[in-house]
């Protein structure tokens, strides 16, 4: 395994040339070497290869494929629905985290464990279950139908699936921060005459905000790429409820490797740009709060 190097006693570190800090612990070479090798083999080479393949296609075709109306609409649906779902989760995830951290009530532990259900439930199972509920003949879908609108097979259905998928990201990133908040700050605010809402919005929220933004970013990133839980409820109607991952699969099924690769690379690039932007936003909030 990792530390298979037998030293038989104290052994000064040999690698001290600035890359590795001196240590007496053995096994760095083996562990680090294996980590790097496995990372390259499984993740970096395959991903890099995909980017290379799409680079070989050329810019003209790149833009021709990504700017096609159907593709553009799929991007709009994927990013738009993921964004709305992340915002819904930001509100309700914060409430759930707050309730779980601050209040004691019967069933709290079960609810706490249940929050991770979207992590544990296979996405295709979530997908068909949500479709069964929100289809026009489903438990909730029937009410919607009576009220004159549809949930499944519209962007609204996609948002519901992404809310399901993203919820634990928000709750689990906000929870530890809420737990660590000093009660004294709140007491100080209250003794200075702030109302509970003022204390929340002016004192607590700024402290939670970086964690909340991280949670939103994670939920958003997951939502953009989500496939299994969405394809059943989306109905996949071109230019209405078609998401980017489905488009990639459709191109692959037509043996259009170039098209699939280019759309995939564009999506990868866009998600990274957005994550980068959110990362900066987070640093900015944190530094503002620290002042």
């Amino acid at each position: 395994m990792t530390a298979a190097v037998s030293t038989g006693g104290v052994k000064p570190a040999k690698r001290g040339r600035g890359f590795l800090a001196p240590t007496i612990l053995p096994g760095f070479g083996t562990a680090f070497g294996f980590t790097l090798f496995y990372l390259c083999l499984i993740v970096l080479i395959p991903l890099g290869h995909m980017v290379l393949v799409s680079a070989g296609v050329g810019w003209t075709r790149f833009w021709a494929i990504t700017l096609a109306p159907r593709v553009l609409h799929a991007f709009y649906i994927s990013f738009g629905c993921a964004f709305v779902a992340a915002l819904v989760n930001a509100v309700f995830g914060l409430i759930v985290a707050w309730v779980l951290v601050r209040y004691r009530f019967p069933g709290r532990r079960i609810i706490d464990a249940m929050v991770d259900l979207p992590f544990a439930l296979p996405t295709s199972v979530a997908g068909i279950a949500l479709t069964a509920i929100y289809a026009p003949n489903g438990w909730v879908g029937a009410f919607a139908k009576a009220a004159g609108f549809k949930i499944a097979f519209t962007p609204l259905g996609i948002i519901i699936a992404l809310v399901f998928v993203g919820l634990p990201f928000i709750v689990r990133t906000v929870e530890p921060v809420l737990q660590d908040l000093d009660a004294e700050v709140e007491e100080a605010a209250a003794s200075l005459g702030a109302t509970r809402w003022q204390t929340f919005s002016k004192v607590l929220l700024p402290a939670i905000l970086p964690a909340l933004l991280t949670g939103i970013a994670l939920a958003f990133a997951r939502g953009v790429g989500e496939y299994g839980s969405v394809i059943f409820i989306a109905g996949n109607i071109p230019a209405v409820s078609e998401i980017v991952p489905l488009l990639i699969v459709a191109r692959l099924e037509q043996y259009d490797y170039a098209g699939a690769t280019i759309i995939a690379t564009a999506m990868l690039g866009l998600s990274f740009l957005l994550l980068l932007a959110i990362n900066f936003l987070q640093r900015w909030t944190r530094s503002r709060h620290a002042r």
Partner: protein
């Protein structure tokens, strides 16, 4: 401190009405988004009675899917377990340059769409991929075969064990291991007798999450499997095929098995967290 000693309310906090409203809202939201889908799975699976449910589960293709799912998990989870231990040993016990970059790269599979996780292997090993013709000439099939399913699963479950172990091992520091080495233990002895007992619950926790994802992965596997019934179909893929054939009872029967797995995972996770919490507290003392 509360000014009035008879007051039950703490100095800060919401009024009882707000409290009840917030708890109610949280429970309502979770019931609608978490409990309802779970209930739907089981009620749809049993919609046509227990007989149809059992028939859906004992179908040869379904059994084959169960077998493949277990097999894929048995290969993918240990691979990522070994990687997770190696990566966390290197990252948590040593100081070296570029560590944060390495950490970010390990997390990379989390921010890649599962569909892309499958696609990258199709581009490498598929018939029209870079190594496709060579593999075909040598009679090796990876895509639309079991090796592809394993590779895609390894990719999506890549960070799970490492992610659990790195913060835990960082928190535990290096003093114990250094003492063992100074006292003459070999590296392997140090790992087995000092590090492993300290991280076993975290390890189990990571394996649990890794396994749940490995058995439940859909998008990545769907791209590389080719959906060959009885051959390259895992359980999540079998659910999709049955559903698209309007065989709803059978689809939900297989789905209920996966939902059960999810519930067991959650229960085990909650139990571990309970154990795990006082272990971490002990390590801090």
């Amino acid at each position: 401190m509360p000014a009035d000693p008879h007051s039950r309310r703490p100095a800060v906090g919401e009024g009882p009405l707000t409290r009840v409203a917030l708890i109610g809202l949280a429970i309502l939201f979770l019931a609608a988004f978490l409990a309802l889908p779970l209930a739907a799975v089981f009620s749809q699976a049993l919609a046509k009675g227990v007989g149809a449910f059992i028939k859906g589960l004992t179908d040869p293709d379904a059994l084959q899917a169960v077998k493949l799912t277990l097999m894929v998990a048995v290969i993918a989870v240990p691979l990522n377990l070994v990687f997770g231990v190696a990566a966390s040993w290197a990252i948590a016990k040593f100081q070296f340059r570029g560590k944060s970059l390495l950490l970010a790269l390990i997390d990379l599979p989390f921010s890649v769409s599962p569909v892309i996780s499958g696609l990258v292997y199709v581009l490498l090993f598929g018939l029209h991929g870079t190594f496709g013709p060579w593999l075909r000439d040598h009679g090796v099939q990876i895509i639309f075969a079991v090796p592809g399913v394993v590779l895609a699963t390894v990719f999506v479950t890549f960070p799970f064990v490492a992610r659990e172990l790195i913060p835990l091992m960082q928190e535990q520091g290096v003093e114990d291991e250094e003492a063992a080495i100074v006292l003459g233990a070999s590296g392997w002895q140090t790992f087995r007798l000092v590090t492993l007992p300290n991280i076993r619950w975290g390890l189990l926790y990571g394996v649990l999450l890794c396994n749940a994802r490995a058995m439940g992965e859909f998008g990545a596997v769907s791209v590389v499997s080719g959906h060959i019934r009885g051959k390259t179909n895992t359980m999540p893929l079998h659910v999709e095929i049955l559903y698209n054939e309007y065989n709803f009872v059978a689809a939900f029967a297989v789905a209920s098995l996966l939902a059960l797995l999810a519930l067991v995972t959650l229960a085990a996770k909650a139990a571990l967290e309970w154990r795990f919490a006082d272990q971490i507290a002990a390590a801090k003392r």
